[in-house]
Each structure stands twice: as structure tokens, then as C-alpha cells.
């Protein structure tokens, strides 16, 4: 069974540009989470999808971030326009149950110059 996959694994862009990160969760997992980790800091919650609906987007930093989950399958996280402080590793995770084990992707490292 395929795990959670994220693309791209690493993206380097200039300030003001746009980047779209993609996450393919494990098939059948209704719950999909986006997290971000800045070097040396905690893994910070961004948002939680249940199927195609946003259950909780309280962690989204500002309106430069837009997340979607088409048909309850894969999800995209777009940052437009990117700022220096957006640099970090963006993790996607999925789970079958609300209280179940989270399965993580390898992360997408974003570097904004």
C-alpha cells in the first residue's frame, strides 16, 4: 500500500513568487493535515481536512496561503506571494480515524530567497 506522498520534495523560489505543494494521502483516509516546521521549532498545525471540507484552518498564517482538497483525495497548498518567513518544511499527514495514527509524508522543503 502506498504511503503519503508529497511533491515537490524541495522547492527554491524567490520572494514574491508562487509555489504549490501537493499531498497524496493514503487511499481511504478521510483526515488530511498540513503542518509546517521551521528549523529548530515545533511542528506547527496549519489545517485539517475531513474529506473535502476544511475542519479546522485556524493555523493558516494569513491569506497568502490557500489549501484545497479536490474531491476528498489529494490536497494542494499554495503560497502566493511567498515571503521569506514562509521557508520551512511542510508536512502532510493523513489518518483514517480522528484519534488514529497519523501517517506522514516525507515533507516538502520550501526555501524562499
Amino acid at each position: 500500500e502506498a504511503g503519503v506522498t508529497q511533491f515537490p520534495s524541495h522547492s527554491v523560489i524567490e520572494k514574491g513568487q508562487t509555489v504549490t505543494l501537493r499531498c497524496d494521502p493514503i487511499s481511504g483516509h478521510d483526515n488530511l493535515y498540513w503542518y509546517r516546521r521551521v528549523m529548530g521549532k515545533e511542528i506547527k498545525f496549519l489545517l485539517h481536512f475531513v474529506k473535502e471540507s476544511k475542519q479546522d484552518e485556524s493555523g493558516m498564517p494569513n491569506n497568502r496561503f490557500l489549501a484545497e482538497r479536490t474531491g476528498g483525495t489529494y490536497s494542494t497548498l499554495k503560497v502566493q506571494p511567498a515571503e521569506l518567513e514562509d521557508s520551512g518544511v511542510y508536512f502532510c499527514a493523513s489518518s483514517q480515524l480522528f484519534t488514529g495514527e497519523l501517517f506522514f509524508g516525507e515533507g516538502s522543503r520550501l526555501t524562499v530567497l
Binding site: G40, E42, F45, H48, S58, T99, L102, G105, E106
Partner: protein, 115 residues
């Protein structure tokens, strides 16, 4: 707001020895879940162990066990007979179940097992 604190940024342990990673959290909830996840170098984060707050018995998974002190809001991870493959970043996580199901992570502890 719930918070998770890991006060040890880095630790090292000799192979075959025992090491304990500390984690404290803050919450006003009574029902919640606690987890330890590990991220080996250049690999995905995986679940190590999980504890339900309503269970008094400490969770154990082979060489991994926890010391869950609910009143003290402490959730430490003990790794016995450390192996080189245990080298990883370890994250403590709290799952809130009131309203939204949101995992809150600590800053992580980088553990290096020495040969």
C-alpha cells in the same frame, strides 16, 4: 491553548543503554491522547507509541515505554537497549478531542545513538 514542551533539544546515548526523553504539556482537558513520533534522518515520521489519557497503565511497545503522569502533565519516553537505528528526531504530540481533532507537537529532541 494546549502546549507541548520538550526541554531537551539534543541527547546522546551509548548503544545498548537506556535513555529517557522528557515531554510536558499543558491542557485543561480531561480526555486526550499523547503520542511519540520519530523521524529518522531523511525519512518519514512514524508513530512510536500512543497513550490514551483515560488509561492509567503506561503504554509499552517492545523497547519503548512511557511514563505518563497525568496530574503532573508529563509524558516521558524511555528507550531501552538503544540501537543505532533509534537515531532520529523524536516529537511528543498531544491530540485534543474537544471540538476539533488537532495534533499539537513539541519542538523535538534529536537523539543520537553512539556505537
Amino acid at each position: 491553548a494546549q502546549t507541548v514542551t520538550q526541554s531537551q533539544p539534543e541527547m546522546s546515548v551509548q548503544e545498548a543503554e537506556t535513555v529517557t526523553l522528557s515531554c510536558t504539556y499543558d491542557t485543561s482537558e480531561n480526555n486526550y491522547y499523547l503520542f511519540w513520533y520519530k523521524q529518522p534522518p531523511s525519512r518519514q515520521m512514524i508513530l512510536v507509541i500512543r497513550q490514551e489519557a483515560y488509561k492509567q497503565q503506561n503504554a509499552t511497545e517492545n523497547r519503548f515505554s512511557v511514563n505518563f503522569q497525568k496530574a503532573a502533565k508529563s509524558f516521558s519516553l524511555k528507550i531501552s537497549d538503544s540501537q543505532l537505528g533509534d537515531t532520529a528526531m523524536y516529537f511528543c504530540a498531544f491530540l485534543t478531542t474537544s471540538g476539533t481533532y488537532k495534533y499539537i507537537f513539541g519542538t523535538g529532541t534529536r537523539l543520537k545513538v553512539l556505537a
